[in-house]
Symmetry: C2
Subunit: 301 residues, 2 copies
């Protein structure tokens, strides 16, 4: 595994040692379970490595941080081909490289199915962390990245489709825009979250954490022809529920004080108001749900 | 979860934020898989929480570090009783408290069996890390903590025994002496390792990493009447193989320059020589093996 500059001691000891240049370290962990978060017949080992890295590195970006390192636990059946594990490692390394991070440690164990545990570490370069709790009435809500592509890709796989390739790829190998996170912190974002479980559900965490209401305008949400074509192909009326409730695109949603000049990658999609919950076009969104960790409608089965 | 002082942001955001007072952070991860690392009929949820925390916190101590935080991933069947998860959390918090650390984040997921992924973080308080690669010929090899108690406890459980309680407890709830790690760093330890897979196997990593031979004297290894009584009860000739190859006691083995004045908890058990490998009473130890992550003789089945 290639090592990024902040790795003072990498793989090979009881623990890795990492630079924490401003005296603080961000840390986050996600689990990926075979049959629930990925299927080995739908994704290659490289895909799964990329995805496992991406979703964890995105959590660091969502705090305004720069990801520096991953620890990876791999539990696998003893008959897992070594080449599969090597491809997984290649995918992890590839996505780490895109983010400026590296795999610095981890663990392996036998288990009846493939399970990945990934911890991402990173630092804030002296900035304040951007939490879920700082949104204030009057702030704008802005989005960096696409929505619904991963959910559409999953729906296509579930229907046995092999096109469009871009949507299948979005599901298999999300490519978060890591630089958007620290950029938002520098711009004075008041709150931020990684859209991993669905826009409405994740902005619900911001609304709850900040004690505010979030109003989304569906006409401002990013749609594109590919998504509409996939909806048509699957007999869906429109792709809006993918956009509002689909997870795993790992776009960033942030709130900014009104009037903050936003670079092009940030698209304003709504506004923060007094109240509670999330509304879409002035309607309450309670009927819209995203991923539930035990009952999720997006389960792969 | 109670939060230790170094927690700048704990549970509830995309990532936790931790103090890294000397600008560096230690990080380590272990997996614990049901049926392989624990059995729910042999250990309570509290036991498993304590053990999961202890084995990870010990990895930080083994670098000479002070543990500060854990991230915990829990994958579990949807029908896992909530009380079991609560007791697990209580065990994690209890052992974190003993070490001065706290649980600052993690993840949950459904899975067909219980799997824990634990990342431990900590800092070095300005000291140099103690790695596996610094042992030099002439150094003494010293041990802080007991050996073989966890292996004896496992053997008793496998034989359906319920006594002696101290050995069963050693298997279920290891209690590492965390302070021994930073103490060894301050004393100038040249190498150190957490004895998790068995003394011979783990010192083999030090011998390999340092390019030296390690000679152990079996007469100096800590034995006690409880261990001998357990060996008698199970018809074993003596408990030496538990002591040499049993894992999971999470004692610390370290090498020190000759003449280093060692506090009482450190017992000299051998010497570093030129050469390679580990010898016990001048005999090569190749026949002695500890835990193998896929084939281990200590498997719970």
């Amino acid at each position: 595994m290639p090592q990024a500059p902040g790795t003072l001691l990498g793989i090979g000891d009881d623990a890795a040692l990492l630079a924490a240049p401003d005296g603080r370290m961000l840390a986050s962990m996600d689990l990926l379970i075979e049959g629930r978060h990925f299927r080995r017949d739908w994704s290659t080992a490289l895909d799964i490595g990329v995805k496992a890295a991406a979703q964890n590195l995105a959590d660091i970006a969502a705090m305004g941080g720069l990801p520096t390192a991953l620890l990876v636990g791999l539990a696998a059946p003893p008959d897992l081909p070594v080449a599969w594990a090597e491809d997984l490692a290649a995918g992890l390394a590839q996505e780490c490289g895109r983010a400026g991070a590296s795999v610095v440690g981890g663990d392996i164990s036998a288990a009846p199915l493939v399970m990945l545990a990934v911890t991402a570490l990173g630092h804030l370069a002296g900035e304040a962390p951007v939490t879920r709790s700082g949104a204030r009435p009057g702030d704008v809500v802005a989005l960096a990245g696409m929505l619904g592509h991963s959910a559409a890709g999953l729906a296509l796989l579930q229907a046995g489709r092999t096109k469009p390739a871009a949507l299948l790829a979005a599901h298999r190998r999300p490519q978060p825009d890591y630089a958007a996170g620290p950029e938002a912190a520098r711009l004075g974002a008041t709150a931020m979250i990684d859209v991993s479980d669905g826009l409405v559900q994740d902005l619900g965490h911001v609304a709850d954490g900040s004690g505010v209401r979030i109003d989304l305008e569906s006409g401002r949400l990013p749609q594109d022809d590919t998504l509409r074509a996939a909806a048509d192909a699957l007999g869906k009326r429109n792709p809006l529920d993918w956009i509002l409730t689909g997870g795993e695109d790992h776009s960033l949603a942030a709130t900014f004080p009104p009037g903050t000049p936003l670079p092009a990658r940030w698209v304003i999609v709504g506004r923060v108001e007094t109240g509670r919950g999330v509304r879409v076009d002035s309607r309450r969104s309670e009927g819209l749900s995203g991923w539930d960790h035990f009952l999720g409608p997006d389960t792969l089965h």
